[in-house]
Amino acid sequence: MLGTTITLAFRAINRHKLRSFLTTLGIIIGVAAVVTMVTLGNGATAAVREQISSLGANVLQLRPGQGFGRGGGGPRPPDFKERDLTAIENQLTGVRAVAPVVQSSGTAIYEGNNWSTTVYGTTSAYSEVQQWKIADGRLFLSEEEEAGRPVCIIGNTVRTNLFQGTEPIGKRMRIKGVSCQVVGVLATRGQGGFGDQDDVVVMPIKFVQRRFTGDRDISQIMVAVDDAYDTSTVQASLEELMRERRKIKPAAEDNFNVFDTKQISDTLTGTTTILTQIVGAVAAISLLVGGIGIMNIMLVSVTERTREIGIRLAIGAVAREVLLQFLVEAIVLSCLGGLIGLFLALIATAAIAPLMQVPFLFDIKVNIIAFVFSAAIGVVFGYFPARRAAALNPIDALRHE
């Protein structure tokens, strides 16, 4: 019986092509909107996650002081020493790599070109911690690190602005008035959550300490956690170790802080996920409006086709069959709308994703849910008109003009 009902429904839809299309339009737009929004939102979330992971996955940042930039009233908490670095390396389990960082900013000059940038003093371990790759040239040699030689690795932004197309490897440039030789260029990392990550000059920490900061303090220690270990456990033992080393009394607050990059990652991806959900919900309302459109047209259709319903009832259709036919018509319309909507969403997302610079992530789950939802709308909003059609009295229906 269902098979013939579907045949009848398709015939009826076929008889009124334009009207069927217009009826479906609401669903088409609704489904396309929902799927496009959610797919782009997921792409944006993935893009954010990708950018954050470029900061280095599972990296703990150890800084002196409480939180970010809190001055406080007392004396400035002391920076770290090289022996803190050694202690972390030797006493902490679950550590993949440890890199000290000293930061400075200054102007780099090469053949009359100026570029203001950030100088990181660190060791080769930094590239391991941050998963930075060298595009050209090489990392520091251990001899260069030990002696604090004037060598540097530059980011792509510095390369573009300073060298303007000429080969930088082996060239000597001046940074903060000191001459240094370019030995490597970092692979492009793009815009992270924290500005242009390619606008850097990396130098051996001993050089930066000697020539720029003037002491042997380390302002930041980056600790990369081994994937096999839980970041929060390592963070706890790092905090314990540092309290011990900095001789903080049990009741006193830390005078350092450990910052987990994964936390930022979670916060930011959480935000984009919520945004995706909100936009998706707004689009879902348009789907609902599309469902009301179907109900509207189906009700008009029942009135208009009263005589047809009368004929069907007279020649022996039972009420259930008439109900089923109209219900199936509504479901077929909404399902067709759903399919067309999915197809349009596919085209739209494929076109928009590159413009928004987010990856195009086809999510079969989102598509299936949207389709099932559109079918459900057909059932819900098709039922009322179908019941009205089935309840018609054949005599009255046949007399209907």
Partner: protein
Amino acid sequence: MPIADPIISLRGVTKVYGEGPTAFQALKGIDLDIAQGDFVAVMGPSGSGKSTTMNILGCLDVPSAGTFLFKNHHVETLDRDQRALLRRRYLGFVFQGFNLLSRTTALENVELPLIYRGEDKKTRYDMGMAALDKVGLKDWWDHTPAELSGGQQQRVAIARAIVTHPDVLLADEPTGNLDSERSVEIMELLTDLNKNSGITVLMVTHEPDMAAFARTIVHFKDGLVERVEQKVTA
């Protein structure tokens, strides 16, 4: 006069529309027997109760009181769906206004009752084409009602009514919308179906010319059967 083993038998059938003081008694107690294979014309002025009777005979409506036996089965006690199944199985309908589905080919219109019977595509096609052949429209099977003349449309409607090989064909003023030439053609077709296919034909008509094709003429007046006229056949 009583008829032996009638296909249809009404006893004391009344029909009241509305309730209380505004109630209107359309049928005031009808007794009527119709013999298997008869060709009956139902005549009478408007409001005489002939349409109400036809609706009851067509199992589209139920009597307020009285009994309706169809093939010795009580119809007045059947519910809506049971009556629908009875119509599907035993009855065929032809209306004054043809009542074909628009934008639908002649064959698809004729197939409609077969769809509700659950026949498969092949059977539907074969039976549908056979019915169209019977009404002489085999070559017009893929034409929509808009592409057919009034007479042709009524033939398609008749094909739709007989495609299930019903026992009774109910025709409500089948020639009301046709000119006299087409009317005669339709009447000849009904006569042929009655004679050669053994279908009992019940027809409402205003026109004595059309009623003349019938063997029995039932005259209605004021909600009662006024008289039953049996045509003497040679």
